[in-house]
């Protein structure tokens, strides 16, 4: 045999041999049986090989770099745990952001893991498959590193311990849960636009960068470490999201209207979930990084603007809800925190009214709205609380059929008027918080009538422990729902001021700084 001089292959050529060249078109089984989910969404793909993965990572490099990230991350987590790092955070109010994260976001990371395994399997193209499956691996990483980072907080603070149980049951946690259930039960192409593009590319910076910077500002090295480490994968995911939408649009002009509808829908679905992030940034961080409004301007308006300017060449328009979301930026966090302040008895984390110093910051950041609309509310609550009448709302709110958030959002042009929309479907009336959510429902009513709405479920008697007897005279429905939620009264819920978390943290800090 000739001795060949192996010419050195370039990154692109080599990567093709390591992925695309491995695949073949089945002949013993029909294509449609091997890839059964490729037709029903109406997306037309003519040549899967046109997809280019710009990162071109092979498994050996993946293991090498990911293992290095993991070693670094767990070294920090271990050090943080050994040094009682949790006592170094600004104050224990901060820890409530982590509770929200573990119960609301980490289970979504896990769902993303399963979802990307599913779409990776579903796509006949080797390039998108490999990128999706690597993302599936990354997503289980995120779920697990978050569980591990918060495992030590769970040992010392209340509200983490029932994250699995609560994610599938508690009223506001159905907001993130239904969001991801919605994406993963959609077809594979829609999932990619929903999660890969709309969430990862357009919105994820708004979730992670402020959260992680918030952790850094508030002395939480553990959360900062997992956050930054996760973000390094996120860049790969964002790139997949961008490449896949370009690929779909380039494959056939008929794909544009389908994709545009998904962009509109998933921008709005994702934006509604980020309501929780908005209130976290403005109200829950003792030391703030930037306001929700500022983050929105950088990551949604400027960065999203650049993105949609670029995508205009495909005929893609900016998401239909973007204009309203930009108007809402002055109101979103205040309205959301108000609701959680109201319902502090029914959530496994603590809320509090902003202090005078907090309100000063909020006035500066929201000069057009805070003093006018929201300061009076907080001053009223603070006064009531001072006089021993901390307000807890014990009624059940009406939820939006689509996003499942209580109906508290106001009209885009009138911040004093709560927005209500409704649709009739098969003789039933359905309620929505916004045009965005109503449009989503009207397009696929058969899907959204299935929603497991926590408040409806309570009314239907599905949210009580089996031993409960509603006919008893002392039956207390709220207490019984909380028991079913596994929320321990006075420990996991209510105002931060009265919480064991606050008491313990202060006592431990005294121990740490005294003799």
């Amino acid at each position: 045999m000739d001795i060949k001089v192996n010419k050195k292959l370039g990154l692109k050529e080599r990567y093709n041999l390591m992925t695309r060249d491995l695949a073949w078109t089945p002949t013993y089984q029909a294509f449609k049986d091997v890839y059964p989910y490729m037709q029903y969404e109406g997306i037309k793909i003519h040549d899967w090989d046109k997809f280019e993965d710009p990162f071109r990572m092979t498994m050996d490099a993946y293991w090498k770099y990911q293992a290095e990230k993991e070693r670094k991350l767990y070294a920090i987590i271990d050090a943080f745990t050994q040094n009682n790092g949790h006592l170094g955070v600004t104050d224990a109010r901060y820890i409530n952001t982590l509770k929200l994260f573990l119960t609301g976001v980490s289970p979504l990371e896990y769902m993303a893991h399963r979802g990307f395994a599913h779409v990776g399997r579903a796509f006949p193209g080797a390039g998108p498959r490999v990128a999706c499956l690597m993302q599936s691996l990354d997503e289980i990483r995120h779920a697990q590193t978050q569980i591990h980072s918060m495992s030590n907080y769970n040992k010392h603070y209340n509200g983490f311990q029932n994250w699995r149980h609560q994610h599938d049951r508690v009223w506001y946690l159905s907001v993130p849960k239904s969001f991801f259930d919605d994406a993963i039960t959609a077809g594979p192409f829609e999932f990619m636009i929903a999660i890969g593009f709309a969430f990862e590319y357009v919105l994820t910076n708004l979730l992670f960068v402020p959260f992680i910077s918030g952790a850094a500002y508030n002395g939480d090295m553990g959360a900062m470490a997992f956050g930054f480490s996760a973000q390094s994968d996120e860049s790969r995911h964002m790139t997949l999201g961008l490449e896949i939408i370009k690929f779909i649009l380039e494959q056939d002009p008929d794909n544009l209207p389908i994709v545009q509808h998904w962009i509109d829908k998933w921008f709005w679905r994702g934006y509604r979930v980020l309501t929780l992030v908005a209130m976290m940034m403005d109200y829950m961080l003792p030391k703030r990084v930037m306001s929700w409004k500022e983050a929105w301007e950088i990551y949604a308006e400027q960065n999203g603007g650049a993105l949609f300017a670029d995508l205009a060449r495909y005929g893609v328009k900016a998401p239909a809800g973007l204009a309203q979301a930009c108007k809402d930026k002055d109101h979103l966090s205040h309205q959301a925190w108000n609701v959680f302040y109201n319902y502090a008895a029914a959530a496994p984390f603590h809320t509090w009214a902003p202090s005078e110093a907090d309100m000063k910051w909020l006035s500066e950041k929201y000069p057009d709205t805070f003093d006018k609309y929201y300061r009076p509310l907080w001053e009223h609550y603070a006064k009531e609380q001072k006089e021993g009448r901390r307000f807890y709302n014990t009624t059940l709110p009406m939820l939006c059929q689509t996003c499942q958030i209580p109906m508290f959002f106001t009209e885009p042009d009138d911040p004093t008027k709560v927005a209500y929309r409704e649709s009739d479907y098969k003789g039933e009336k359905y309620h929505f918080c916004s045009d965005g959510c109503k449009n989503i429902f009207d397009h696929e009513p058969e899907k959204y009538i299935q929603s497991w709405l926590p408040v409806h479920q309570i009314y239907q008697g599905n949210c009580f422990c089996p031993d409960v007897d509603p006919s008893k005279p002392d039956f207390n429905p709220l207490a019984e729902v909380l028991r079913w939620y596994k929320i321990t009264w006075g420990e996991d819920n209510l105002d931060y001021a009265d919480s064991p978390d606050k008491k313990n943290f202060e006592q431990w800090r005294v121990q740490a700084t005294g003799n």
Binding site: G10, L11, P54, F55, A216, F228, E234, M238
Partner: protein, 89 residues
């Protein structure tokens, strides 16, 4: 013209990468944040393997960027020698 950007964790390795970016992209705008550095460049940013290697004094595989990356925006074109972000086609 839109900016492209990249954000990196702050450490010894990225100090070298950031120096290399500044050297190869005269219009780079550096924005230091807690534990993170964000670099914006109008329209197009290039990270050159050779410049990073000079800064580090060792071999550098561009895929090593993944270890330190926080976020980025723009279209990516990666070869063995260069990592390019741009809004041009």
């Amino acid at each position: 013209m839109s900016n492209v950007f990249i954000a990196l964790q702050k450490n010894e390795e990225t100090r070298c990468i950031i120096n290399a970016i500044v050297a190869d992209n005269p219009d780079a705008i550096i924005n230091e944040q807690p534990a993170m550095v964000k670099i914006d460049v109008p329209n197009r940013m290039v990270i050159r393997k050779s410049t990073v290697e000079e800064e580090m004094g060792r071999d550098f595989d561009l895929q090593e960027l993944h270890v330190y990356l926080i976020t980025l925006t723009g279209h990516i074109d990666e070869t063995d020698d260069e990592f390019v972000l741009s809004w041009t086609h």
